[in-house]
Amino acid sequence: MSLLGLGRSDAGLLRGYIRGDYTAFEKLYHRHKDALFNYVFRSLGQYAVAEELAQEVWITVLDKAATFEPREATSKTWLFTIARTRVIDFQRRRVNQVHSDSDSLDVPDQQLDHERQLLLQQMLTGMEQLPVEQRETFLLQLEGFSNREICDITGVGTETVKSRLRYAKSTLRVQLGEET
């Protein structure tokens, strides 16, 4: 079986881990780690902080794996719900701290060349223009979630999700038009 555990559902992998199958979790982790990390990173714009929060998210998954109820949510939705909560918590804490806009991306050099660093910086700058609710909605859509799933994660109605996406794209469109 591949490292990603193809053919085995997320819920099945979680159940396997609960029974003590470490490899099940390993597959689940490799399946979602990059998507989750990018969501956290794009939400916050700081690599080191994103790593820290991503680790907290996964540890929370370990803590709560036994309580996961597949009838109420998909594993991926559940995972991103945890991530979203962590991001919001961090953002609330950060509001009360002195925050420097000059924070660099702090992305390890081996990951991106200069050009792609600039692209990424541009994206993050665009994200910063968005209200938090629009930003998280837009980022979740970028990670492939449907409107219905975004509703589950964010706890708002479908129309609200659509509205947030509409406003977010409108804002970004203006920004792209100015910058391109």
Partner: protein, 260 residues
Amino acid sequence: MTQPDSSYRNAPRLRSSETLDRAVLGEAKRRAERQPGNRNRLYFAPALATVAVCVVGVTMVLKNEFPSVTAIDSAGVTEDVSRAESVQQEFTSALASQDAAGFGLDADAAAPPVVLVEPPVMRREVMRQKSNVVQNSAPAPRLEAMADSLSAADAAPAFKDVASISATVSERESASATLLIAEQPLHQFTVLIRHSNAQQFSDMTIPTAIVRLRTGGQANALVIGSFMSRQQADKAISQLRLAEQQPRVLTFGALKKLLR
């Protein structure tokens, strides 16, 4: 006009670092190892169904066939008239090897892995065997048949040794029967047989169980011992794995040393 979502979708994606991977997966592994059912799954689940079938089959067969076995008492003295000398010689040398190697792990053993033994067999069963031997001086046909069947099955020589050594006698007379099977690297299986339920296994002999497992294609390496708890058995398995040695002869006494 550029679509913002497509533009952003094409934006560089980052990978989480290896440090993060190690931290998360390391923690997950530690927790998984603490899961109550973990050892059961790793050690027993893959072979449990097969073993259950084997046990039932062996028990049924033994109730109707093979009334006689070679018996060696706890002092290592054979009572079997058919292969007394060879069995005793083998057993004695095996014990000597075990003593020399400490714990019975013979690093120089060239023979295929296996063995040993001191399974608690019901004393009354052994006495019945002895009685049979006394009453019937003819060579035990069952033992020969077992050896032949092993040859026919292209069994490893070590398993012939097991067949010839046959049953040994324990001081213990009771407790339950539990077959513990652990998957070994390279598809070898360590079989730990715990006899503590005499009722269930009173007609079963350990070597025959081995033979049956072997002919069932299940075992390449066997360790037989008697354990009072699965924790002890697990510990013994771990010790053997750590030693990365394939035990040629391992007595119950040696197993007990391992568990200290």
